[in-house]
């Protein structure tokens, strides 16, 4: 089953690339470097959906102690971290030619970086706890607190950057969404979403197989 998902995901990603480079127009103010957006923005959407899954799965695990919930949370956290990493890296690469600097502590970059570190911590807790069952419980608590923290991070960082402080750099955000740009974003989002689902399904299966092998 997951093989089908992988195939569909590949098609989705390819469709996204076609949209990003073939269909979407050359942006007016930034030029073609803006095309980085078509991987940068969908990646963060996918990552945050994955962290939502971590949140729900963690609650389910603490409530039911079903191993499947733990595997879901673990897989979703890994995949979320990978996609968020892609978002951060592509954001920096996009920023260098457009802002002149790899990094700026603007609201969006900073809050994404904080969320990234929170969920890397989630993965570290699992790795550094000797007893796997205990590690699952600890990770669930970190996952819940971490996910609940995401809106707090976003508000606090946004207020920190915008109140009493004019924005120092023009952000290369999504350009005025013309039809083609919006479509390209959507197609890339669907492609990456399918890819993340495929990764999560595969990781889940591996975690289950690992458990059954050592049972």
């Amino acid at each position: 089953m997951s093989r089908w998902l992988g195939l569909v995901a590949t098609l989705g990603v390819l469709a996204g690339l076609v949209m990003a480079f073939g269909v979407a127009p050359r942006e007016m103010t930034q030029g073609n470097v803006q095309r980085i957006m078509y991987v940068h923005v969908p990646a963060v959407w996918v990552a945050y959906l994955a962290f939502l899954a971590v949140f729900v799965a963690s609650i389910m695990y603490l409530w039911t102690r079903a191993a499947g919930a733990d595997w879901t949370a673990h897989a979703a956290a890994e995949v979320g971290v990978v996609f968020l990493g892609v978002n951060i890296a592509t954001g920096a690469i996009w920023g260098k030619p457009t802002w002149g600097t790899w990094w700026t502590w603007d609201a969006r970059l900073t809050s994404v970086a904080v969320v990234f570190v929170i969920f890397v911590g989630y993965l570290l807790v699992r790795q550094m706890t000797d007893d796997p069952e205990r590690g699952a419980r600890f990770a669930a608590v970190v996952g819940i607190v971490g996910a609940l923290n995401i809106p707090l991070v976003h508000f606090s960082v946004y207020w920190w950057r915008t109140l009493h402080q004019p924005p120092t750099f023009a952000k290369p955000g999504p350009a005025a969404a013309s039809g083609a740009i919006g479509m390209a974003l959507l197609v890339n989002f669907i492609g990456l979403l399918l890819l993340s689902a495929y990764f999560i399904a595969k990781r889940y299966a591996l975690l289950r197989a690992q458990q059954e092998a050592t049972a």
Partner: protein, 49 residues
């Protein structure tokens, strides 16, 4: 007309491909070690966790 910085575009997409592809390869590698029913694989399984 503003420069297109195609080099940066390529770099960004290359990073994405490397990260996502690298993760996929890790999954494939884990799958392979789990499927091999040897003593060495069993030891490796313990380490991979």
């Amino acid at each position: 007309m503003t420069s297109d910085h195609w080099g940066f575009v390529a770099a960004a997409y290359a990073v994405a491909v490397l990260a996502l592809g690298g993760y996929w390869r890790r999954l494939v590698h884990l799958e392979r070690t789990l499927k091999t029913p040897t003593l060495r694989a069993a030891r490796r399984r313990g380490a991979a966790r």
